[in-house]
Symmetry: C4
Subunit: 294 residues, 4 copies
């Protein structure tokens, strides 16, 4: 390895720690700047769609947009360059989000007809999650995600039952109320059933006959009562998760009475593929096999 | 028993395993084909009710409907034939649903006036539950159904109290607001009370007097607060159920201390360091980083 | 005591068991007839308020109403006669409901101007609770009521905080949106805030300015998030109640291993003042001191 | 210290106990008077904003307002005077609320143009919390606040995810429905998404295309399902808090085995059979039927 290559390698490592990590001062500063840049650029997309603002500040917003696009393109390039496995990064969820965040501006420049693509830039907001993931929210998110994963079969079953109810209530109302009262087709009636069972209740389609109102009342009470089911599922799962964690902590405390080194938890997010949620005793990322730095 | 009878008997048994079972490859394939056929036929019923689609693709949808009806009739016949007790099957819930799924098409063919019967075909969607039941969702559903059954007296009491509240609030508003503000009768006012207490809030009937708005505000806060009751009931029941199941598992573990033979769990043991207990989504051993064979 | 007096006394006791009790065949039949009479008379009040039905069946409904009024008056008289302490019965909650259920018909007959009093008859629906109380729902209701009573300070605090939020959001919107957008006064704006925070959302008053919509969005997210608080309170209280009951049952089982006599639970409702919720070891009603029959 | 100074000091201490405390008869009376004065003055602000009432009773409400302002100014002065550290009190949350409650009336008197400032007086309602805090609700509030604080990271994460969903759904609907269906800009579409996901459902902006209705249905079901998450979080936290408190109580009981001296509990012991442990609402001994002396 020549001195030049060695320099480059150490630069890559340093960049990697700053861009992907959170344990250095520069890395934290980088994330802080990034989180503000993302927020401002998303706000710019929002304001750009308001016609009165668009007319007045069009040039300023256009310049801002190109500024952020160039900045994010630079960031994307550095991420590709400093990543240990650039291909894996580019194909990962956050790699794709990073690409999608900058692509629309270039595409609309090249093909001016595709102006609606601009809206895709709003997905930049997803990039904030990566930064949150690195921060203190990682542990909390894991408990939540594990509880949701544990209960996904029950939730799926619940949603499937609710959708069946929606189809049956919708079809019934199509027959009872009919097109003359706004229930123009079964899909439209199912849309009404969804609006009603979820207790949203726009009021754009409402029953007018006595029988229709009776069925609607039944649908509302059903919707009101069954919301209790997913809530119960997730509550019970979270409590079970809580109890398991406190038991594990007790067991850990018995085995290793000395306190753990601080900074332990944040390094359990894989620097390479950003997969979080590794067990406390894991030494290698269970998704990509990279050694977990501690 | 003649050879022919024996052949027939073995055919019946084979058919029974394929149609009603889920443990053979052919049985799983049959269920997969059936689940898709049901979904497409339900979608066809939905689209058929949209007048613009009906006009354009009427012939195609009509042919599709007859195709599915013949297919489901054949399936119904095979179920009756291969069932050990055809009478019991025919009178069972799913037997009736199977019959109801095919009957409307024939009836409308015979009595063209009864076109609204066509909508009954939508109940085909219920047939999907039988297939889900056979699959992995069975255990989850049992916990849910047991919890709901345990709490049915409390839920009934809650619903009865809510309905009493709805009747009282509705009658009160009929007196306070009266027909000139849309509260045309007590049943209509009760309909308003249901729309309000379940927090659906269409806005097709709304109070206009100060006193009426005050009572409506009271009804809303009541509805908002009491939704907590069924949720609490089901949460507490699910947690109790959870704890009972985990105690049963512990009791089981004490009785049979040898590990279970489930091949699934065994393969999550690392070939290199023999570390077991990896998560279901792990691809690499979390201790030594070796790829996990599956 | 003369033979006549003795006869009368035994008649009173028998009537008391039939009318207030649930443990004889005649008592159950009486309750069954009563529950149907109440339901039909409430339905008659509902239908009577629908103008099209009122015009057509006025005479029939009027006759029905007088029939039920005479029947319920007779029942009220028998309750007063057979009660051990008629004064206590007349002043009890159900005694008042019984009186209120029959009074309006007589009052309107005497003072035809007070026609709106008729609606008060709807309170008959409350009488069904007495019958439910005697039936199997008694135990369930006690758990629910105890949990609600345990958490009433927390619920009050929550409702007070929510109302403060409603007042503040309402006043804010009155300033921001103003009378020209439907927010005509602070009470009207608070009504809007209640409609919004409880997620009812009629849509009769909606914000139109950008700032107003922003504040409304904040109010909605607040309302959506804080519904979790009372639900959490009641869930946690119900689970605690559950655990205490199962511990009490275990403790009881250790002390008295012989099974309890069936019918134990229903007799824990005081025959005299209808107070339910006596402890399992109570021999006398804690409200009126009457011996509890077992 | 001169006699005069000593007198003043003892006056200050006595005033402090009355104004800030709740343990003297005068202190409780002071709080009772204050809670009524606050409620009436808030009601006056509410009624003052109703134009029909304002026109008729303007002079009376104006006089009332000045009366309360002088009263509250006096109270503020006494609080400053009797406080041990007047500066700390003035900068505390309740000190600021006390100042804000009286300032607007003076400011509007000085600068008549700033009439909208009057609405700020509504913040007086916050002053009631200080009094509640002193009363029995303090313990309950602590449990609630601790549970909410424990779960604030999870709640923040949930709200951030929900807001991301709202931004994405809103932008999608802006593209699909467009300005011609009321989705005039991305902020307006996000407002629609908030109205829909929180299940408020005003109906002021509703989808009209098939695709738009499909996406709206998805948003509703999402909103309906994810409300379960914060509820589950708070339930689980409250239960954990409950269990920790009951364990602490047990630990306390082990340390101090002698019974507490609370006279309250002792009087619930029957004079006749000495049975203790009667419920708080018991009037008669549940063992022997003797009236319980209180």
């Amino acid at each position: 390895m020549s001195a030049d290559e060695q320099n480059q390698s150490s630069l890559k490592t340093r960049l990697n720690r700053i861009i992907f990590g959170y344990d250095t001062r520069a890395g934290r500063l980088f994330d802080l700047v990034l989180i503000h840049a993302i927020t401002i650029s998303v706000l710019a997309v929002l304001l750009d769609s308001v016609s009165s603002i668009n007319e007045q500040y069009h040039d300023f917003l256009y310049a801002l947009e190109w500024g952020f696009t160039v900045l994010f393109t630079l960031e994307y390039g550095l991420r590709l360059y400093s990543s240990q496995k650039p291909g894996a990064y580019a194909r990962s969820f956050y790699g794709l989000v990073d690409l999608i965040s900058i692509l629309p501006t270039y595409l609309v420049f090249l093909f001016p007809g595709a102006a609606y693509l601009i809206v895709i830039r709003i997905l930049r907001v997803l990039r904030i999650f990566r930064i949150l993931k690195l921060m203190r929210y990682i542990g909390e998110a894991n408990v939540l995600i594990r509880a949701l994963r544990q209960s996904r079969a029950k939730i799926f079953l619940f949603l499937f039952s609710v959708m069946t109810l929606m189809i049956i209530f919708g079809s019934l109302m199509f027959v009872v109320e009919g097109p003359e009262n706004g229930f123009t087709s079964i899909p439209a009636s199912i849309y009404w059933a969804i609006v009603t069972l979820t207790t949203v209740g726009y009021g754009d389609i409402t029953p007018h006959t006595y029988l229709g109102r009776g069925i609607a009342a039944l649908a509302m009470i059903t919707g009101y009562a069954i919301i209790a089911v997913p809530t119960g599922i997730i509550s019970s799962e979270l409590i079970t998760e809580h109890q398991r964690m406190s038991q594990m902590e007790k067991a850990d405390a018995r085995k290793n009475p000395e306190p753990k080194a601080a900074g332990d938890i944040q390094s359990l997010c894989c620097r390479h593929c950003q997969h979080a949620g590794h067990d406390a005793d894991a030494h290698y990322c269970k998704v990509c096999g990279t050694a977990l730095a501690r």
